[in-house]
């Protein structure tokens, strides 16, 4: 940007231009400092394990209760509409959800209606993160075909979800997956879907999304089967509409939702711990057990302090911006 070089301005107009340019230059410098602070503040907490106090919200309490009410060994449909672009939020939600479902030995049929890459991202998360974690603890690894299957990507969400609601078997006719012998078989032959006849046979449909793809799912499936949603912070306000009207049974929003879920996985709800004390109390709610001592904390606990610092930085940015504006106005008036 060009700034007037002559410090001794001759006319009032030139003085104004010179002052404006000076303020603009200062604003630019402050912005660069803020960017530098953002990089530092966002990265340093990632190397520390800080326990920040947290009280889960009502929507996440409902989500956890619904999730824990799913019978063990049952089949859950998982619409996974996220990729690593939102891994901080969606990745944490996926990992927390999968840890709970895996501990309940639930079978999972995953698919995407929003992004062709999404099923592969979910499979990679299971294969490269969650299975090694289970193996290290001497637990059974989750196997494709026996424990989960990927139905792939459906490009026409509206038509496909309407078909799923009408007749699930017919909607997925012809879908194949590789069985444990390496043979291509119909997905309904797999242990995951062999007992599923209609959508009503599924105890829960879960959607993890970074877009508004929950709209179609809720419009077509809510009321026929319990639905819970795990969304990004950006999609929070829009999805809250469905939660407040009780069309979905639970909702986790953004990084706070991830940490809420992890907190309840560790502490349960109104559930006494080993010392007999209830770590997380929620009025008028039946006790729901957690998994104390297990690997419950992940991205939520890791990123929550960063969220604090970044929010603080944003508040400071707004304050500095407004102070700058008032100072510029004051100078202008003089």
């Amino acid at each position: 940007m060009d700034t007037p070089q002559d410090p001794v301005a001759r006319t009032a107009e030139e003085v104004q231009v010179f002052e404006a340019a000076k303020i603009e230059k200062k604003t630019h410098q402050t912005r660069m400092i803020l960017f530098g602070l953002l990089i530092l503040c966002s990265t340093i907490p990632l190397f520390l394990t800080l326990g920040v106090p947290n009280k889960p919200t009502q929507s996440t309490v409902d989500l956890y209760s619904t999730l824990m009410s799913v019978p063990d060994n049952s089949t859950v449909l998982l619409q996974t509409d996220w990729t690593l672009s939102t891994r901080g939020e969606s990745g944490g939600e996926f990992e927390g959800l999968m840890r709970v479902l895996m501990r309940k030995n639930c079978k999972i049929a995953l698919y995407s209606m929003s992004d062709a890459q999404a099923p592969q991202v979910a499979i990679d998360e299971i294969a490269l993160l969650l299975n090694p974690e289970r193996k290290a603890k001497g637990e059974r690894e989750y196997k494709a075909w026996d424990d989960y299957i990927s139905l792939g990507f459906f490009p026409n969400a509206e038509g496909e979800t309407a078909s799923m609601a009408a007749n699930l078997r017919s909607a997925w006719t012809g879908k194949k997956a590789i069985d444990v012998q390496g043979q291509e078989e119909d997905v309904f032959q797999s242990p995951v879907l062999k007992n599923v006849q209609t959508i009503a046979n599924v105890p829960l449909v879960v959607i993890i999304t970074a877009t508004n793809s929950f709209n179609v799912l809720i419009e077509r499936l809510a009321g026929k089967v319990p639905v819970i949603a795990l969304v990004t912070g950006v999609m929070g306000p829009e999805s809250n509409v469905y939660y407040s009207s009780k069309q979905i049974q639970g909702l986790a929003i953004g990084m706070k939702g991830v940490y809420d879920l992890e907190t309840m996985m560790e502490e349960g709800i109104n559930s006494p711990g080993k010392d007999g004390k209830v770590a997380f109390e929620w009025p008028n709610h039946p006790p729901v057990a957690g998994f104390p001592g297990e690997t419950n904390y992940g991205r939520g606990k890791l990123y929550f302090p960063t969220l604090h610092i970044d929010m603080t930085l944003m508040i400071l940015a707004v304050i500095f911006g407004n102070v700058g504006m008032f100072m510029a106005k004051k100078r202008g008036n003089r």
Binding site: T27, S85, A162, P237
Partner: protein
Amino acid sequence: MTFSFPNGSSGLYLALAATLIVGFLAMFAMMSMPARWRRPVVATCTFLAGAIYVAYYLWPKPQAFGPRDIPQNFSESVGSYLADSVNVAGTISTALTTFLLGLGIYSLVRIHGRKLLRMQKDWGFSLVLLISMVAIVIFGYWSYWQTKFGPDAVKLQLSSNWTWVNYTNDFLFDGLLQQMESAMFSIIAFYILSAAYRAFRIRSVEATILLASALIMMLSLMGAVEFIWNSHLPATGFAANFQITEIARWIRDTLQTPGIRALDFGIGLGALAMGLRLWLSLERGGVSA
């Protein structure tokens, strides 16, 4: 009605070939058809496809009617027929939508191929795009074939047995594509911070209300602030309404959600009107033009 053939049977391949030929013939017939005949054909297909969904939505649904149950009366027969038809219409529309992916690839190759051949401005980016696309397609399908149908398919399920093809595919997908998506998305943080600093200004009463609401919502998301704020207030009684989480909840449930719901309602009405126009082929443009 569903046609089914065993996997790998000659009947399956015959049906696939026949479907392909019929599809191409139908496409050729549509393209060579005079424009004045094309419109009624498209309008009829659109109306019939839409009518299935409308009828399925409006027709009473038989209670506890399983996919293997036999209809007992006229109402159940129609309901069952419509449920089957919805699946057929859904499958056809999914297949048609899939063509859009092919159309997207064709469009990308055409635009960037032309740019590359004519050495137009920034042709280097087009070259990178095309090489990346071809590489990920080749290694993607190669790796898929190896892990699903190859002689060592079962062995390759374990990453410790992967071949260089699987590693290359993993590097391209997880190592490059996904990481670059993350990097692109994380840049938004800088834009948000910059916008907060430069644009979020108290210039009017409305802006001040917006700023105050945003501040409360941000503070309510910070567990540490929530802990300190709420610890100074009782958990019950009138004063409990001034807990940061309660104020945020009030803003969300009383101001934000009804506002979004009103917007959604308006969008829904607009979509209904637009849907009716499309269904009845009243909308000008496309084939009607």
